[in-house]
């Protein structure tokens, strides 16, 4: 850990699933617990670190988030909060899902929190049929079963079709 602070300018290379390479400053990469663990366990920073689960578009977003959070001092929490909400503002569901998956894989807790919350906020007032579409989930209930589950949760459906 101590060395990472001393060698602030050290850089490492990340490679996305679609082959694009990103040169990242080490202190930015340390926002990710996954990368931090890799660097701590003798993984040479000269190596290219492959991230086979994350495409270039998503990785660029993730690194943008990491850079902002690594560079901002802790006293600027308000500024970071507004950055976070702006960051996710017009993102479509597909991009948000990719972001959550990437944050989960790279273990970036702050990003996981805000992206998961954003998805939750989007679906919280939607009927379950629409939630199914958003998540591409197949309905495996028979009509009778679905009616029974609905009945069980009847009170939650007040005002819903």
């Amino acid at each position: 850990m101590a060395s990472s602070i001393e060698n602030n300018n050290e850089k490492l290379t990340l490679k996305s699933s679609d082959g694009e390479e990103f040169l990242v400053e080490k202190h930015v990469a340390l926002q990710s617990t996954l990368l931090q663990n890799m660097l701590d366990s003798d993984c040479s920073s000269a190596d290219v670190i492959p991230l086979p689960k994350i495409d270039a578009r998503t990785l660029a977003l993730v690194l943008g988030y990491c850079k902002k959070h690594a560079d901002a001092s802790s006293s600027k929490q308000g500024e970071l909060n507004s950055f976070d909400s702006e960051f996710l503002k017009d993102m479509d569901m597909g991009a948000l899902f990719n972001l959550v998956l990437a944050a989960n894989f790279m273990e970036i807790k702050g990003l996981l929190d805000i992206a998961a919350q954003k998805i939750a906020d989007t679906i919280k007032d939607k009927p379950h049929q629409e939630v199914r579409e958003i998540f591409h989930v197949e309905n495996d209930y028979t009509p009778e079963e679905e009616a029974a589950v609905r009945e069980e949760n009847r009170w939650a459906f007040e005002g819903f079709p």
Partner: protein
């Protein structure tokens, strides 16, 4: 739109735990695997944890639950309020199962309320957010009087279980009988061990902190003299312990102090009313117990004082972020005292109300699998049968007689009251009962305005209007009485 990758369960969980409880019940209709994911105890615990922390994204969404009865229309309401702004966020429906019944709320924990029903003394767990109930099986020891009962309800993390402890003290001297209910086993067992030789007086709700339930109690320390103390029962280790009240070692002008237990900043707190007869206004001393369980000692944190509020304020609850809520007994208003800014402020609640009660509250799915829905007729029948069964038992044991006699003594006349008054409190007894049946303690009397006091553990509410009339309500039986004193 990017190509969709199906989400691993772990990530799906991360998203769904952030949904409000109603939305989660919608989501149970999405597909079978979602339903089993949400109903899993791992998910329920994780959702609770996220909710209890407030919100991960920096917005404080902690809430408190307000139970109140509108003065007009006599309507009982439950509403959720934001802890920060006090604004009402939603109303909760009074459940069918207990609608019209009299009951007391013993404690609130992880979105569950533990209720004690009036007549049968049956206990219920209720999750208002998912509208589910669990009626507890009949306990082994029955009591004919709610005066003799004390309860505690808490979550025990090590066992990942919920426990209810029930104490019956039919005598002031001697140890109470104790039994413990666990939700996972859905049964009662008798507790065996060293009890405490005292009676709970419970002028306030028990306070849960440091893994223990705390009640206020009376201990006999001489002929007809009693001293106050705090009794703690550790819910995980199941041991009793006595804690002296603050100032117990100081000479007091009147051996009796009206104290109120609470939790302030994760510490056991004790509030003592210091009514200023001459100056008027409100004054409560706030004490906190430092070094709990080690070399504990009481520290007086501050005196909560106001010269401008004319209503008698009764402490009700402390919110986690450092505010204490008070109910105004004359103006039926809700006040909060900000510990940091050291000032009272009035919280506007719609409509004139009375019977305020406030609880910390976290929406949760606890009881999703164990509970029965409020709408089910099964719940009603079960409860009605419990009441009938109880009535039969009483008849058989002749207990009903005592109860009836007690009831017949209402409305009480002044000759039946024994009032023991001092400048800042009053004790009330019914003199045709024995001394153990002290029915309402610590009435605050201020000489001019109407004041009231409630003994929540027994469901008794009493009011004094201008020191001439004493009005008492026994909430558990729905009895009201007035007496001139």
């Amino acid at each position: 739109m990017s190509e969709f990758k199906s989400l691993p369960v772990e990530t799906l969980t991360d998203i769904l735990i952030r949904l409000p409880v109603e939305s989660l019940r919608h989501c149970m209709c999405v597909c079978k695997s979602w339903r089993s994911l949400i109903a899993d105890s791992f998910f329920i615990n994780k959702q609770l944890l996220i909710n209890r922390q407030g919100c991960s994204t920096g917005i404080d969404n902690r809430r408190f639950l307000l139970k109140s009865r509108k003065l007009f229309g006599n309507k009982l309401c439950y509403s959720l309020h934001c802890c920060k702004t006090f604004t009402e966020q939603k109303q909760l429906k009074v459940p069918n199962v207990i609608e019209g019944w009299s009951y007391l709320i013993i404690a609130s924990c992880n979105g569950l309320l533990c209720l004690l029903l009036g007549y049968s003394r049956a206990l219920l767990l209720w999750n208002p957010s998912i509208k589910k109930f669990k009626i507890l099986p009949k306990s082994r020891f029955q009591s004919c009087s709610s005066h003799e009962l004390a309860h505690g309800f808490a979550f025990v993390p090590r066992a990942n279980d919920y426990k209810v402890v029930r104490l019956i003290h039919d005598k002031v001297e001697g140890s109470p009988k104790v039994e413990i209910y666990t939700l996972s086993k859905n049964s009662w067992r008798t507790w065996i061990g060293d009890g405490v030789r005292c009676a709970m007086i419970n002028r306030c709700r028990p306070a849960f902190v440091n893994g223990a339930v705390h009640w206020t109690g009376h201990k006999k320390c001489g002929n007809k003299t009693y001293s106050d103390l705090i009794i703690a029962f550790h819910m995980e280790d199941e041991v009793f312990r006595e804690i002296p009240i603050p100032g117990h070692d100081l000479p007091l002008s009147n051996g009796n102090v009206s104290g109120f237990l609470s939790v302030v900043g994760e510490k056991l707190a004790y509030l003592v009313n210091r009514y200023m007869v001459i100056e008027g206004g409100v004054s409560w001393d706030l004490w906190v117990l430092e070094d709990y369980g080690v070399a504990e000692f009481w520290t007086k944190l501050q005196t909560m004082r106001s010269h401008t509020i004319e209503s008698f304020l009764h402490p009700m609850h402390s919110l986690k972020k450092g505010e204490i809520l008070f109910g105004g007994l004359k103006d039926k208003e809700l006040y909060s005292f900000d510990l940091e800014r050291q000032e009272f402020k009035e919280i506007g609640v719609d409509g004139m109300q009375f019977e305020f009660e406030v609880f910390n509250y976290t929406e949760s799915l606890v009881l999703l699998n164990e509970g029965i829905p409020d709408s089910s007729s099964e719940a009603m029948i079960d409860l009605e049968e419990k009441e009938k069964e109880e009535a039969k038992d009483r008849q058989a044991e002749g207990k009903d007689k005592k109860e009836k006699e007690w009831e017949r003594s209402w409305p009480v006349t002044d000759s039946e009251f024994v009032l023991n008054r001092s400048p800042n409190h009053m004790n009330c007894y019914i003199n045709n009962n024995n001394e153990g049946d002290l029915f309402s303690v610590d009435l605050a009397v201020c000489g001019v305005v109407a004041v009231a006091c409630r003994d929540l553990s027994r469901g008794i509410e009493a009011a004094v209007c201008g020191v001439v009339v004493v009005a008492c309500r026994d909430l558990s039986r729905g009895i009201e009485a007035e007496a001139n004193v």
